[in-house]
Amino acid sequence: MRIYLFGYLDDDFYGRVVLTPAEHTVADLAQQLVSWAPVTCRGALFVTNEAGAVLDPAATLDAAGLRNGDIFTVATAGEE
């Protein structure tokens, strides 16, 4: 099942709509958002939910509690 989320890259300037299968992992989600960004991100990516909790990269989106219309933020360790 596909869900839609609102993704924010930590040092960017706006949020993007992300349509993604709920079975994907949190790490996949981070990659999907970063691939749209105008910068190349390096190093580890941290995904947090709206409450600010860091999500397990190996968890599925469903297991991580991300549902339709939720916000997530990807923080990058650095950029090129």
Binding site: D11, G15, V18, W36, P38, G69
Partner: protein
């Protein structure tokens, strides 16, 4: 023997009568007249300072129209438009689409007050207000029409309001809330007090001053003449607000003021803020948007609040923080999504960047690298590398993209209601929604419509859905134009 003006005027404009066979509550139902519903006696001291008679009104308006027309007629058709700065033309196109038909939408709202306003002088003033708004529509349609010879997209002066273009959905959402779907009292406070007393100076006087320096005199005269009307009928707001406050309606008044202040701020940073600082030629800028906001809007508004012993809106600190950044962030989004606009957007050049930096001490550090990326992408990949393909997340209240206040400072938040999740650009937008959820909950943003299958998800089809079908009608990079491949028809199917 002639009767002197002062002897008949007050009697005439306050003419009113009591009903023997029907109750005031039936003549002025609360849904249309507004809340709180006060007894007739509460309104008896309603007054405003212009006290214009109909005869004076007709004479004045005729002179105003003539002054606009004489400037237009003094220039021959070619000189009327030739030599105008290209960025400036985009600003006019933007202004025309976003505002001109909203003036027309304000006509029935003024008429609603002319019928359901609770005092005769208020109704008199609103009748003139309705006539004003018809004039504002017509004079600006004329300016737009003159520019059609230069650029056929000036038909968006009339068209924009009837499309599903996303800026226009945001504009309609605002104006519907402000006056189209508002009672007489709510209209007086939201439209006359907050929008017209608070903000339209900026749109009409500041832009008129810039139009003068940009040598666009027909536009300048039209704007300046409109503002003289606005400042008259905006006077409706003060006595309505005063009556409310003196009769136990202070909480309601404070809510309407706070809500509309935030909504107007959102609208003006998106339109005036971006247009003043990215589309106006440097020679025409004598002040920054931030300075205009401070001097013409904020100081005046704070004075007004003090006069009524109202508090500053609870989000005041956030608002002050935004003045420095928010319109610059939104401008990046407008550029990135320029193919969904009906006007063109530039990448600021070196001189413009210097101007931005001198007016906003953080500009180069915060926004410089982002614009550099666009320049690099143009060199490396051409136009395709400078356009966004993901959908922007839109606020379910203001309908604008949820841009960060500034890069690294995200204010977006959500709310769940009846099984649906709503997204907001900021706490104040969420707060407005939460106060009257039944008013806003059923509306769908462009993104909601795409997700629900009510609008096409493919960008090319979405353009068509927004009324931007033809390649050369979509916004483009102001200085680089369109790449030739854009003119190759897209195969259907």
């Amino acid at each position: 023997m002639a009767i002197l003006r002062d002897e008949w005027l007050d009697l005439a404009r306050k003419v009113d009568w009591e009903f023997r066979y029907v109750d005031d509550r039936d003549v002025f139902p609360e849904e249309l007249s507004g809340s709180p519903w006060l007894p007739r006696s509460a309104w008896k001291d309603w007054n405003e300072s212009y006290r214009t008679s109909y005869r004076e009104y007709v004479a004045n308006q005729r002179a105003k129209d003539e002054s606009v027309r004489s400037v237009r007629d003094a220039l021959d058709k070619v000189r009327l438009v030739e030599g105008l700065d290209r960025g400036w033309l985009q600003l006019v196109k933007f202004h025309n689409g976003a505002f001109v038909l909203a003036e027309y939408a304000a006509v029935p709202s003024e008429l609603r007050m002319a019928r359901f306003g609770r005092d005769a002088a208020w109704r008199t003033m609103a009748t003139l207000g309705a006539l004003d708004e018809i004039r504002h529509t017509q004079v600006q349609l004329l300016v737009g029409h003159d520019l059609l010879r230069l650029d056929e997209n000036f038909d968006w002066t009339h068209r924009a309001y009837h499309t599903n273009e996303w800026v226009m959905i945001a504009a309609r959402h605002l104006f519907d809330d402000m006056f189209v779907a508002a009672s007489a009292i709510d209209t007086a406070i939201q439209l006359n007090f907050v929008f017209e007393t608070g903000f339209t100076n900026l749109q009409f006087m500041a832009l008129a001053a810039m139009a003068d320096k940009a040598d666009h005199h027909a536009f300048e005269k039209a704007l300046a003449s409109i503002q003289t009307d606005e400042s008259r009928h905006a006077q409706i707001g003060h006595p309505v607000l005063r009556t409310l406050i003196e009769n136990g309606g202070k909480d309601r008044a404070q809510f309407l003021v706070d809500k509309m202040w935030w909504r107007c701020w959102r609208a003006f940073l998106a339109t005036t803020g971006t247009a003043m600082e990215y589309l106006t030629p440097l020679r025409a800028r004598d002040r920054s948007f931030k300075e205009f906001m401070q001097e013409w809007v904020v100081d005046q508004f704070v004075k007004n609040l003090e006069e009524f012993e109202l508090d500053r809106p609870w989000f005041w600190d956030l608002f002050l923080e935004e003045i420095e950044f928010a319109h610059h962030s939104l401008q990046l989004g407008m550029y990135l999504y320029r193919t969904t606009l009906w006007f063109d957007e530039p990448v600021p050049d070196a001189a413009e960047r210097q101007w931005l930096q001198s007016n906003y001490p953080h500009w180069e550090e915060v926004y410089g690298p982002m614009w550099d990326r666009f320049d690099r992408a143009w060199e490396a990949e051409g136009e395709a590398g400078t356009i966004a393909y993901a959908l922007p997340a839109l606020c379910n209240l203001c309908q604008l993209p949820t841009v960060f206040l500034r890069p690294g400072r995200n204010t977006a938040c959500t709310l769940e209601r009846d099984g649906r999740k709503y997204l907001f650009c900021s706490e104040p937008c969420r707060w407005i929604f939460e106060r009257e959820p039944e008013r806003f909950a059923d509306h769908r943003s462009v993104v909601d419509r795409i997700v629900a299958g009510q609008a096409p998800g493919k960008l090319i089809d979405l353009h068509e859905w927004m009324g931007l079908g033809a390649s050369d009608h979509k916004g483009k990079d102001l200085r680089r134009g369109l790449e030739p491949w854009r003119f190759v028809p897209v195969p259907k199917g």
